[in-house]
Structures are given as structure tokens and as C-alpha cells.
Symmetry: C2
Subunit: 905 residues, 2 copies
């Protein structure tokens, strides 16, 4: 990011500080969220204490240059003078000092940032003035608070040391809370606090009020790069170059007596959305005391009795704010000696359910339209609503924590291998498959289980991807989990379970617990899957209404990734408009892998191909029938064939042991030779996808023939099948052309044989950088492109997702080296750029080229918006993610319109 | 390629046929090489028989549509009429028939194409007319030749069948050659030939002369896609869409008696370049008889006695041609009854040595300038001249043939593992390392050996890359070679050798022979390495002169890839202007790999790092000293660390066997656990390069510190070291920034410690698509970019070079699916596009950004031209390839100028 701060030459002429009256809500980039809202309220005429904001640009300049930019000090001084004028007090005036608070305020709120220093401006010299105005005890309390906050946040003294001093003071005075400490005791505390500063930081609280202010501002700037803030930003994908603003505000006090107090409130209930103030109030207290919960606040409604005029005013301001922001607002206020001050407001956080409810309520109230309502809910929130969850307020015995790989809540007996999972499930038992990691061999077990837990692997590991695809709850990469397959026990940081013990898997939070937790089903999911049986529920209605609106607005189709008729039917109920990815390798697992083994090891290939053909034909027929009238895009075999063979190392050990025991076995030797021959150092970059045609030319012909026959079977029965075929791992147009010839020949042969017309468009996966870079050529042989963004991300980054997750990726995330995991959300700059190139050049060659995406990113809200923006015809995602994808595709349209509206405002 | 042929609507209006008088030499794309030269000679007024050329465009249209394009038949008829007029005979005229030859003529000459059908137009009806004109026996001989050629090339009848019939006829007649067969015997042969046609192709020679012509032309068109032609094109990188032209020429006969004859000659000696005709002549013969060598031709000079006027004329024509073409010409001619006809000319092929000699001779003769001379030699020819070779005319007992992976000729005892190679070499024995394939573990053996042979792996396999880098002769992927490590024998298609037997390895031809062959050293190499000792040799002078001119003209620097002082010195002697790639992993092989093992397995890391530091410091010092005053770009550790550990499968087998034998071993178990932990499914996409910083943060700091110390050591001694550091496998700018921080901190610490100024620019490898796609960002943290085109090719194509070579790549090459191997020569459309993007966007961010390339492509002539064109500052290649790179960098400039001259002509 190149900002003005990068050009120090301009510094002197730059505006680094704005008073509240000079800003507005639209300036959050420059003023931070808090500053922008303070300015907005000032503009609305609400009673905000006088103050000013030091911009994020000043912060960036400070961090870049290591010192305050030229002109900042002068501008702060100038604005301080204006605050003095407005408040009628002077900063540092011994007679009646102005005190200010210094608070950070970034674009996005962020834990780890320095929060607040109150009472800046208080010194030994100004203390008597404050005491004269508001009493000795109050002044001493203010002073010790300043020393404490300054010591902790500016000088980095351990906060516990201060608490210990307070504890001792309370014990000495024999009181339970600070309220019981008198002026002398508090003065003593402040003195001891200042000793702590000298002892641990080597310096005292500055006795120059201006130095206090300068150091506090600097501390806010520097807290931008505190480790916690850096980590939080990297996790949340917040740009590390934004910087924070600093708000300097005249102090108002809610703790000057019974006519004072502080409160926090919402303009409507953040759980249900019902209009009407909702919050807490505490007499004779500062804002932090309300939140800290040391004393019990009263419900906000009681303020009507305590201070009727203030309550009346507050209600008026809340109404003003909600009408102005057209949304639920979250407000902090203070009453000082009967005078109401609004200290902060922001659009309030809410639960996923409330987001949908409030959005539709505001529509009904005529405050916003349906487009705006759609902007205010997210696919992620919808996904949360679709999964069952564990009832709140249950005690959990956590076995281990891992990655929330596939959301949901499931309970079952732990089982440690696929075979046993299948066996127990067949006995009617409910099982959770727990594995070190999973491979395609584990698929039957994953199907049989209600949830999957792995010790290794990331959010895009085999377990995570497959579990999400099947809608199985999954926790992947559970930290510290050890699966002992010999002793049949699972050990985690929180305890141990034996195989057969019941565990509870929270795939939404990424937690595995010992024992059985209570599960609540999702009414929303039930309603979406079976609209006829939908209950008369406000939340269900809100979701259905906003989904319908999203469908109306979206220009991007939503297809699903499905390999079985069951998945296809479920996805269709959830709104899928076809299948964008039907993986033929999933039809060749379990016992059927021997078919591929026979082909690979060249054992009676003809029979193997014929079995493969018959199996495919039947499966294809089922899927096409389930999606009758809608497109079904079948992907030809993609994985390296040796994935269907035993593991080289395991087999080598087995063979060596057999031989050592004098039981050398001809079959094993032959198998081992075959496995060795087909072994690859980097299978991801090896003999896969379209490359298989060069080595096993019959393969794609057999698969195409099976699809053509399945189509003809359905046509004869009066169905409307719409099959398409896509060729994986194309790097060069000639590869696609060669595969296309094989496919077309096979399809034509079936059509001739059956005497019917079978039309199967052929497309190319775009999952290698070269395919994207030469898309203009590839498009000459393709009816459509389907972006395989998983593989495209792997090759563009040179990154094997599983290997990376096992080694350096966690460290990268911790240190913020990758702002967002490119496997979770599309990497717009790298992978996204290739997608744009391929879209533009593919369509230049062939304007009617179909364009879709079938990687995991098809279910990621942010990615869906990107794909809609670049103009793809459809996204394809796993069945459970279909509703969220529909919602996000609609949001992509209204957000783009909203953005352009904002631009022209 | 979109050609006019793709738009059939235009067909009728297209010119499909040009007479010789209508074309010229610059039209080779349309007329093919042969047709363009025939046209050129016609324009020059040389005696070319009348004829015309059917264009390559007609061929493309025919192949695209499956039939002759509209208008072609009419145009052929029209041009045939003109030939009739010029020859004074009519096609199909029974009284005096015009006969024509039909010959293919593509842009590039190509084996597998249908070559020639002579005497087209001869039928039962026209035969008597020809007999009346030239005699019965002659006519019958012409007829049987037509039937034979037509049967073989148009109808695809096995040629051997015709030879058998001729054999029988000769036996019956009791004569040794066809000359002895009389008219009746030849008539009988023709009859039997026609029976063969009917029997094997189901049809006779057409008795309509026009049908003969149409079918012959069609056969030429179709031969474009003959398997041999397809294979040849794919091997030579010739565009499969060019198509061939067809030349139809009035027959002239060199076999009508003693006043007739045929010859082939050169305008100067193709081996020495000396001016003066040079060739063979055969009386009473057709051209094919001269080449076939059945009768012994006489030296051309004898023609001066045989036919003085014809000889005089010919000498005049040869002079005309050489002056016109300004190059050595290769000419075919025929004398028919005392009249001289020139049938064909082309710029003549020559040996690598002759290319250099002739180019400089022509400069001395004032025919061409030095720029043109530079255009006429290639880096590949120069490379040939630099290697020793086996003396010609030796009998070879070929053990196996493979890929010419690293040129040269070497003889030594076969040895089957690295350890023994080192051991035997230490005893003073000369060894050739023969391995199934090589890994970094084999490096000591490769160093000890004079040549390397592998059974598996391609031109960019480990063995090939390392051998080229070290200048070791290498044959990789020897077909059918089996290395039996237990019985210590090597078996190939041509025999068997035991370990210790002598073999001869021809790395230039890719042949491994049994026994010792005589080797000739290269005088050119000796002269370049030691200019003072250069012999007074015309070839050496020519090479030195053209290299000097290339240095003068080139704008691209030539650096070398070198890891040792010896390699650095050698490269410097060969003209390298620095080191573009110094691989630190090569300093950690052999026994030293235990240092990395200690780090990986966390055994006394501190000592390991300290040993690594000291080793690096000494090696860096040596390399910097050898390149004093020139840049030395050191690459930080790149390979996955587990490459320094034992192989997982081997170790697993070992551990299992030990355990089964009750000898379970704590150390092995620990090692195995470590190897398992660091094992990766796709190491190429795993924990490598800059990613290591996240897991082993000390690594780059230690390497940077060692380089800084080495630099300071040399500075103190008064040297001028110019170190640079480059960071491998960057995908994201933040990675580079993080590594740069580590490096700068380490360098600063050394500078402070030593009290000296050490400046080490830091650059980024661009070897992942994402780095290229985000080059603008990466450049913010980089002083220079170095393109690693090996890895960039692997990820752009999603192709592991070793795995691909072992599985589908050979099939791809066979079928022409990849026009040129992207690992041999830069893939301009895909990888090259990324290079262009990175160059443009990197320089946009930072105009002074250094740009180089250090992949294997840095030594490939075609790639060097590409890199020069896109504006890289330098290429870096292995020492032996430095002269060729210098030459090609110069050629890039003059070829670009030549091209623009041609454009404006």
C-alpha cells in the first residue's frame, strides 16, 4: 500500500488531526471507527464531549519513520486549544485543569491494542485544582487511575503489580472494594503505584501534562504492532498497514456522586431484534465499572425513575441514532451531575439468528429495503444456523482442540479405523471416526460415521474436504491428539478415551469433548430441506425471505459437488441448480479400488475396464436421474493411479519381514514391483488427470462410454439428462484436444450403437497456471472452463496443502505472513489474477464459453463474491454450503451496487 | 494458428498454385523450401525445368477439410497447361507425352514425408509415344519406376515386395544390376508390379494421367501426418500446422544415354569451407542413382572432360548462386542430351566446425559482415566444438542408448555406487558412475567419476542437471538398462558388463558402448580456457573472432552457476562475468549432511549451526576470491531438509528387520521418528526455501553471517568481494520481507563486530507463479530478481520433471503433445509470459531492479535469445555453457536487428 505517509516530503503540509466537528461517519479509514462515529454524533447535535482525532495516517507515518511526523505536535496543540475553549478549562491549569482521555480507534476493533488512558493532564500540580472542584477523594481516585493506566500501557509495567497494591490497601483499610478507600488511602496507593513505575520502568509519571499526552498517543501508535494485535489481524485478515487513529476527548465523570452514573445500551435487543432500549445503568460509576461487573448495574428502564430528564433525553438520542444509522446501535453514555453525555456509538454486534431477524424487521418497519437487508447478513451466519449445535451451559470435558474443519455437533462412540466404523455402524451403533489423518481408504468409515476427528491436517486436508463435502462434522488437526492404533486409545491434552467410549465433536468450534453432550437440531436446516414442513418460526421466515431475495438478485448460478444420487437430491432440495463436479474417483473406492489396481498392474485389463464401465454407467444414471433437467458435470478420473495401490513404505516393510521370515510371497513381490514402478516423488505434479491418457489410453474412453450409455438409458425412459464431461489437469491445449478426440469418438460410437442422439459438451478444468495463461488456446477445444481453485492455488503458490499444514503453515498464520489462508479464501492477487486472465482470454476466443468453479472456494462467502464479480456463470460447492453460496451470490450483486452508490454519494 | 485455410468461405478465391516464375526465395512459408528456391533460380534465369508449386495453404485446407479445397483442381489444370506450353509437350499425349515429377517440399526438410514420384503421366496409352522418343527400354524403365513409386507411396504397398520382383528378374536374366535388364524384362517387371498393386492395395495404376497426378498430390498432403513426420516434428519442435507444399515439375532425364547424366555438388567444401565446386557426377543416370551409390560416381571436376560446355555453364551457375545466396549452396543438376538443368538448390548443411570457418571466410571475402556471420553459427554448434569426442570410424559395441544429457566423450570403469566410485578414483582409477538414477547422495561419486549413466530420468533429472553443471559427460534414461546392485552387473539391450569393466560414454550422442573407444580432445576448448596457449588454428581463430563479436554486440551479461572456487575460476576463464547462482546446499553434502541432520533432528543444534557457519565462511571466501571484483549471487538453502536424511522406505525396512531380529535399536528408532516427522507427500511443494525460516529461523541468519564474515575477511586482505544473497521459493512479498529482516540483521551484526562496511544486496528468486504475478509487491523488498525457471516451469505446468520423465513425458514427446520439452527450452507462452509480467511489474515498482535468470534455461540457446529479448540483465549457466551463452546473447541482438531489417525490406 502506498500512502501519503510513505512520502515524508509532504508531511509538513498534511492534516494529521481533525476535531469531531470536522469529520463524519464515512471517514472511518482515516479516523477509525470510534472517531468517525464521534464525529457523526457531533454533526447530529448529540451531546458529545469536545475532542479531536489524530488520524490513522499519522500513525502510519509514525510507524514508518519511527517518530512523530512533522506538524503533528503543532496540530495537536491547536486542537487542544479548541477543546479548552469548548470545555472552559485549560490543560495543565492548576486552578481548574482540563483532563482528557486518550483512546485508540482503528478501522476495525482489535484486541491487543492499547485501549484507554483516562485523566491525562493530572499532575501533582493540577491535582489540588481538581480536588477543589470535585472533592479530595475523587481527585485522588482519578490520579491513581491515571498512574495505573499510564504505567501499564505506556510503560509496560505488569498490571498485576497494581492489583496487588490495591489489594494490600483494601486489606489495610479492612474494606471489600475500592469504594471503601478514603482519600488518604488512595493517595497512598498512587504513591506506591509511582514507586512501581520507577522500580519497573525506571521512570515516574511525567509531571508535564503535555508529555503525558505525547507519550500516551505514542503508546497507542505503537500498540498497533503489539504481538496480540498482529496475531489478531493475521487471523482476521485485516490489512497490517491500516494503522490506528487516536481519540483525545475532554473527560466527563460519571463517578462524581449520586447525580452521576454510566451506562451501556442497545437500541434494540441484539438477540431478538425487538425495538426498544435495552441495557444497564450504574449510579456514581465510570463506564469501565459497568462493564467490569464489580457492582451490579440496574436495567436501563430504571433510569426513568432515577433521573427522568436524562432518561427522556437518552431515549430521544437512541431514536435519533437508530433512524440515522438505520440499524441496531450500541451506545455508551455518562451522566455527570445530571448532564447526559454520549461517549461512543457503533452498529451493534448480534447473533447469527438476530442478524436475519433484525434485517427483516427493519424491512417491515420501512427503515431499509430488501437489498440492504441482504447486505446485513452473511453466508457464514447462515451456515451457522444450518448446523445442529451443542446446547449452551453444558459442562465440557475437553479432550483436545483443533481446527473447525466441518461445522456441526455430533456424538458417538470413538472408533479408530474405517473397517470397524463400518462394522459398528452396521450394528446400529453411532460412531465417530478418530484417525491420525485420513486417506481415500478411510472413505467407507467416514460415510459410516457421524463425525470425523484427525490429529493431523489442515482445513483443506483430505478429512476436512471430504467431511465438508458429505456434511459430516469434523475437527481436523486436533493439537496434541495421539491415536494409538495398537492399544486402541486416544490421548489428548485433556484426557484419554478408549475405543468405544462416547465423545462429542463440535465442528463449529473445533472442540472434541469426552462424554455425551446435548445436541439441538437446526430448525432452519429442517425448513430449507423440507419447505412443506417448515414451522411457523420468525427466524425460518427471515432466512427463507432473504434467500428468496438473494435468488432474485444473483446473476451467478449455484451448483453442487456431488458423487451420489443421495447427495444430488439433498443439494437439489437446498437449491442447487445442477452438479458442477461429479468425481468419478469416488466411485472407485473401497473394494472397487481393485479394478484400478488390476489396470495399473496390468492384470486382465479388459475385464477391469468392463467392470469399471458397468459401475460407472449405473452410478451416472442415478446421479443424472436425481438432477433430471439440470446440468451434471462429470470429471474424468483425476488422481494418480497409485493412490489406489498400497503404500510403498508399508508394503516394503511387509515384504521385507515376510522374506526375513522365509515366507517370501510371489504375489507380494509382484505387487511391490508394481507399486515401485508407479511410485512418484511428487504425485501432485505427476501422472494425473489428462496425463493418464498418454499411459492408459482406454481410461477416458471407458468413462465417456459409460456416461453416454447412462444418458441413452435415461433418454429412452423419457428423462431429460444433461451430462457434461470435464478433463482435469490440462496444461496445454493439445492435451485437451487429444482427450476430446477420445471422448467424442466414444460418445459417437454409443450414439451410433443406440441409434439415439447423445450430446455431451466437453470442458477443461483450469487448475494449472499454464492453462490459465494459455486460456485463449485452450478455449479453442473447450465448451466450458471449470476452475479447480484448490489445485490452482497449490501450483500458483508451489504449496502442497497437506504438507504445508503439517510444517510451516501454522507458523505462517501465527506470524501473519499469509494474511488469509489461500486455501480457505481465494487469493485475489495471485490465483485470482490467473482466473481473471483465463476468463478474459477464454471468452475472447469463444464468447459463449461456459465458466464455473468447482474448488472448495465455491463455498467460501468472500470467494463467491469474487467469482460473481469476475463474471463466472456458476459456483459449485458441497450440498450443505449451497444455501450460503446462494445468499452470497445475491449479496455480491447488492454489495457491488451498494459500493457504487457509496462512491457516487 | 489461424490461417486462411480455416475460413473455407474464401477458398474459391484463394490462389492455391504458383508457377516458378511467380514465386521467390522469401516465400518459403507458402511454397516450402524447395519450391521457393526453384522460383528464386527461375527468377535468376537459371535453367530450371518448367513447373509449379501447390502451396502449403492448400495442404492445410486439404487436411482440415478432408478434401481438395475449391478451385485447386482448376488452378492445377491451368498451370499444367503453362508447363505444356513451355515444354512443348502435352500431358497424356499418346504421341509425345509430357511427364512430370511430383515432390513434397515443406518449410523444413523432414524425414517421413513422401518424397518423390517420377514419370507421372505415363500410361499404357502414352508409353509407346515415350518409347518412340527415347527408346523402348528407357520407356519401360520409366514405367516400372512410376508403378513402383506410385505403389509404394500412394497406395502404401510394402517396398520390399518390389525389390523382390526386381531380384527375381535379375536372377532370371542372370545380371547383376538393373542396367542389365532389357526392355522385355522391364516390361515384365512393370506387369508384375501392377499385379502387386492389385493384390495388396486392391487397385491398379490409374490409366488416366490426371488421376495419377491428383492422387500423387493427395499422397504428399497426407504424408504430412505420417507417424514418422509427426514424430520428427515433435522432436525438432516444428509447428505441426505448417503443412507441406507440392512441386510439380516437367521431367528431365539424365539416363537417356552417354550424353546425359546427373550430379550433386556444393559451392564450397562443407567441411573446410574452401571455395570451389565440390561434388559427384554420374553419366547416364538419374539423380537418385547418384545418391543411392549403386554405381561409383566420378569427382565433379571430371565433368570438365566429359562435357566441357555443360561444365562451364554449371560453374557459372554455381558462382551465381553463391553470390546470390551469400552462402554455401548445395545443388542438384541433370544433363539431358547435353542440355544442363538445375533441379534443386538450398543453403548447404555443414559441420559445426565448418559453420564457424565458412562464416569467417565469407567475412574475409567481403561477402557478409560480422553480424551476419554471427547469425550463421549457433551456441549448440559451439558447444559441440567444446567437447572431446570419440574419433570417427571406430566400431562401437553399443550397450544402450539414452538421452544425450551432458555432452562429451569419456571412458572408464563402470562402478555402481557413489562410495565405490570415490574409493576407486582415490586409487587413481578412472570410473564411470552407472546408477538406476541419482540423488544428492550420489554427488561425491559424480564428482569422482568422468561420466555418469542412469537408467531412469530425463534431460532435467538430477543426474543430467548436476552432470551438466559440473561438465561431466552424462547419458540419462538409458533405455532398457538394468543396474543389478546385488550381482554388480549392468545389462543393456546390447550386452552386459560387470562392475569394473571399461565402458565408453558418448554424452553428445547419448550412447553407452562396451569397451574403450579412442577420444579426441577439443582444441577449441583448450584455446578458450587458456588463450595464451591457443594453437595457430583456423577453427580456433574463427571461434574466438565470432565470440569477441558476440561480446561486443550483446546487451545481456553472462554469469555462471558455480559452487566451488575451481568451477568459478574455470567459468571466469571461459568468459563468465560473475556467479549468478552459488548453491549453498552443495556445500552440505557427503559427510557434511550430518550437520543438517543434527539440526533437523534437534541434536545439539548450536554446534551444528556453528559448524555450518565455519564451513560456509571458508567456501564463500574461496568463491568470492575466485570471482574477485565480480558479483557472486549466493542462494540461501533451498531443498527440503529431509533430503539430507535417509530415505523413509529404506529406513523403515531396515528398522523393521532389526526389530524382527530382536536387535531393535534406540538410535534407529529416533532417526526413523525424525524422518517420519519430516517426510512430505510432495516435497517439491513442501517445506523448502524461504519457508524454512518459519521452522528453522536460525538457518538464514547463519548463512548470511558466514557470507558477511567471508566478505569482511577478503576486504581486510584488500580484495574486492561483491556478494549478493538471494532468497528462494518466495510466493508472497511478506516472506521476502521477513527473510530480508533476518539477513540484514545478521549482516549488520557482523559489520558492527568487524568494524567494517559490508554491503550485501538481497534479491528474490522468482520461481513460483505467484511471485511473478505479484512481482510489483515483491520488488518492494528486493534489490534484484533471479528467475528460477526450472521450478517456475514445474509449478506453471504442475509437472515434476523427474516423475514426468518416468511416466508420461516420453509418450507426450512421441505423440507431439508437447512441441518442445519446457524443461529444455523456455515455454514462451506460459512460463515466458510470467517472466514478462514479473519483468514489467518489478521494474515498474523499482526501475533499477536487477534481473537475471539462473535456471537450466540460462544455457539453452533459444532461451537465452528469449531472455535477452525480454530485457534481463544477465543469464547464468553452468561453466561449460558460458561460451555458448555469450554467443547466443550476441546473436539475440543481431537476430532481432536482422528480423526488423527483414520486416522493413
Amino acid at each position: 500500500m502506498t500512502t501519503q505517509a510513505d512520502r515524508p516530503a509532504d508531511a509538513a503540509g498534511t492534516t494529521w488531526v481533525l476535531s469531531f466537528a470536522e469529520g463524519h461517519r464515512g471517514m472511518a479509514d482515516l479516523l477509525g471507527g470510534k472517531g468517525a462515529n464521534l464525529a457523526e454524533m457531533t454533526r447530529l447535535g448529540l451531546p458529545v464531549p469536545p475532542g479531536f482525532t489524530i488520524t490513522t495516517q499519522a500513525c502510519r507515518a509514525y510507524l514508518a519513520e519511527g517518530h512523530e511526523p512533522e506538524g503533528l505536535a503543532e496540530q495537536v496543540e491547536e486542537h487542544l486549544r479548541r477543546v479548552e475553549d469548548a470545555a472552559g478549562r485549560r490543560f495543565g491549569d492548576p486552578a481548574d485543569p482540563l483532563l482528557v482521555s486518550v483512546r485508540s480507534g482503528a478501522r476495525f476493533s482489535m484486541p491487543g491494542m492499547m485501549d484507554t488512558i483516562l485523566n491525562v493532564g493530572l499532575t501533582d500540580e493540577t491535582l489540588p485544582g481538581l480536588a477543589r472542584r470535585a472533592g479530595e477523594r475523587f481527585a485522588q481516585d482519578c490520579y491513581r487511575r491515571l498512574v495505573q493506566m499510564y504505567g501499564r500501557t505506556v510503560l509496560g509495567v505488569d498490571g498485576q503489580l497494581f492489583e496487588d497494591v490495591l489489594d494490600q490497601a483494601r486489606q489495610r483499610a479492612g474494606v471489600r472494594d475500592d469504594q471503601g478507600l478514603d482519600a488518604a488511602a488512595l493517595a497512598d496507593v498512587a504513591t506506591r503505584f509511582r514507586e512501581l513505575l520507577r522500580e519497573h520502568a525506571g521512570e515516574d509519571l511525567p509531571q508535564d501534562p503535555r508529555e503525558q499526552l505525547t507519550r500516551a498517543v505514542r503508546a497507542v501508535f505503537e500498540s498497533w504492532n503489539s504481538p496480540r494485535a498482529v496475531l489478531y489481524r493475521s487471523r482476521e485478515g485485516i490489512d497490517p498497514n491500516l494503522g490506528t487513529a487516536v481519540n483525545v476527548v475532554a473527560m466527563v465523570f460519571g463517578n462524581t456522586g449520586e447525580r452521576s452514573g454510566s451506562g451501556v445500551c442497545f437500541t434494540r435487543d441484539p438477540a431478538s431484534g425487538h425495538r426498544g432500549a435495552y441495557g444497564d445503568y450504574l449510579t456514581n460509576a465510570q463506564g469501565e465499572d459497568v462493564v467490569a461487573g464489580i457492582r451490579q448495574p440496574v436495567p436501563l428502564a430504571r433510569l426513568a425513575d432515577i433521573d427522568p430528564p436524562a432518561y427522556e433525553q437518552l431515549m430521544g438520542h437512541l431514536a435519533t441514532l437508530e433512524n440515522h444509522y438505520r440499524d441496531l446501535c450500541d451506545v455508551e453514555f455518562t451522566i455527570e451531575d445530571g448532564r447526559l453525555w454520549i461517549l461512543q456509538t457503533r452498529v451493534g454486534k448480534r447473533t447469527a439468528g438476530a442478524a436475519f431477524r433484525i434485517a427483516t424487521q427493519l424491512v417491515d418497519e420501512g427503515v431499509i429495503d430488501l437489498d440492504e437487508a441482504l447486505r446485513r447478513v452473511t453466508g457464514e451466519q447462515l451456515t451457522q444456523l444450518l448446523h445442529p449445535r451443542f446446547a449452551a451451559d453444558q459442562e465440557r470435558r475437553v479432550l483436545a482442540r483443533g481446527l473447525p474443519a466441518s461445522p456441526g455437533a455430533a456424538v458417538g462412540e470413538a472408533v479408530l479405523d474405517s473397517e470397524r466404523a463400518v462394522e459398528w455402524a452396521a450394528q446400529g451403533r453411532t460412531v465417530v471416526l478418530v484417525r491420525p489423518e485420513t486417506s481415500p481408504e478411510d472413505l467407507p468409515g467416514m460415510v459410516a460415521a457421524v463425525a470425523v476427528v484427525t490429529a493431523r491436517g489442515g482445513l483443506t486436508s483430505h478429512a476436512a474436504v471430504v467431511a465438508r463435502g458429505m456434511g459430516r462434522t469434523c475437527v481436523a488437526g486436533a493439537e496434541g491428539l495421539q491415536v494409538d492404533l495398537e492399544r486402541r486409545v486416544v490421548t489428548g491434552p485433556g484426557g484419554q478415551v478408549r475405543e468405544g467410549d462416547v465423545i462429542s465433536v463440535d465442528g463449529t468450534a473445533g472442540v472434541v469433548s469426552i462424554g455425551e453432550l446435548d445436541v439441538e437440531a437446526s430448525v432452519v436446516a429442517a425448513a430449507l430441506e423440507d419447505p412443506g414442513a417448515a414451522p411457523d418460526d420468525e427466524l425460518v421466515e427471515a432466512v427463507v425471505r432473504l434467500l428468496a431475495h438473494a435468488d432474485l438478485r444473483r446473476t451467478t448460478g449455484v451448483l453442487t459437488n456431488a458423487d451420489t444420487p443421495e447427495d444430488a437430491r439433498r443439494a437439489r432440495r437446498l437449491g442447487a441448480e445442477g452438479i458442477g463436479l461429479c468425481r468419478t474417483e469416488h466411485m472407485l473406492l473401497g473394494e472397487r479400488r481393485h479394478i484400478v489396481e488390476d489396470i495399473v498392474l496390468d492384470r486382465d485389463r479388459e475385464t477391469a475396464f468392463s467392470r469399471m464401465h458397468d459401475l460407472h454407467r449405473e452410478e451416472f444414471r442415478g446421479v443424472l436421474e436425481a438432477m433430471d433437467g439440470l446440468p451434471v458435470v462429470v470429471r474424468l478420473l483425476d488422481p494418480p493411479l497409485h493412490e489406489f495401490l498400497p503404500d510403498l513404505t508399508e508394503l516394503s516393510v511387509h515384504a521385507a519381514l515376510e522374506e526375513a521370515a522365509g515366507r517370501a510371497d510371489e504375489d507380494t513381490a509382484r505387487l511391490l514391483a508394481g507399486v515401485r514402478r508407479w511410485h512418484e516423488t511428487n504425485p501432485m505434479l505427476g501422472l494425473r488427470g489428462v496425463r493418464l491418457v498418454a499411459v492408459v489410453p482406454e481410461l477416458y474412453a471407458v468413462q465417456a462410454r459409460a456416461l453416454a450409455h447412462a444418458t441413452a438409458d435415461l433418454l429412452e425412459k423419457g428423462f431429460d439428462p444433461r451430462p457434461e464431461l470435464m478433463v482435469p489437469l490440462v496444461a496445454e491445449a493439445a492435451e485437451l484436444a487429444a482427450a476430446r478426440r477420445v471422448i467424442e469418438q466414444a460418445v459417437r460410437a454409443v450414439a451410433d450403437e443406440r441409434g439415439t442422439t447423445v450430446s455431451i459438451p466437453v470442458g477443461s478444468m483450469i487448475e494449472l497456471p499454464r492453462a490459465a495463461l494459455t486460456a485463449g488456446e485452450v478455449a479453442r477445444h473447450a465448451d466450458f472452463f471449470s476452475f479447480g481453485t484448490n489445485d490452482l492455488t497449490q501450483t500458483t503458490w508451489g504449496l502442497s496443502r497437506d504438507d504445508a499444514e503439517a510444517s510451516f503453515m501454522p507458523a505462517y498464520r501465527e506470524s501473519g505472513l499469509v494474511p488469509t489462508d489461500p486455501f480457505d479464501s481465494i487469493d485475489v492477487d495471485g490465483v485470482g489474477r490467473l482466473v481473471r486472465i483465463a476468463v478474459a482470454e477464454g471468452r475472447a476466443t469463444r464468447p459463449d464459453l461456459g465458466l464455473g468453479i468447482c474448488g472448495e472456494h465455491g463455498g467460501d462467502p468472500a470467494s463467491v463474491r469474487f467469482f460473481a464479480e469476475v463474471g463466472l456463470d456458476y459456483v459449485s460447492c458441497s450440498p450443505p454450503r449451497v444455501p450460503a453460496a446462494r445468499l452470497e451470490a445475491g449479496r455480491a450483486v447488492v454489495l457491488a451496487e451498494g459500493a457504487s452508490e457509496a462512491d457516487t454519494r
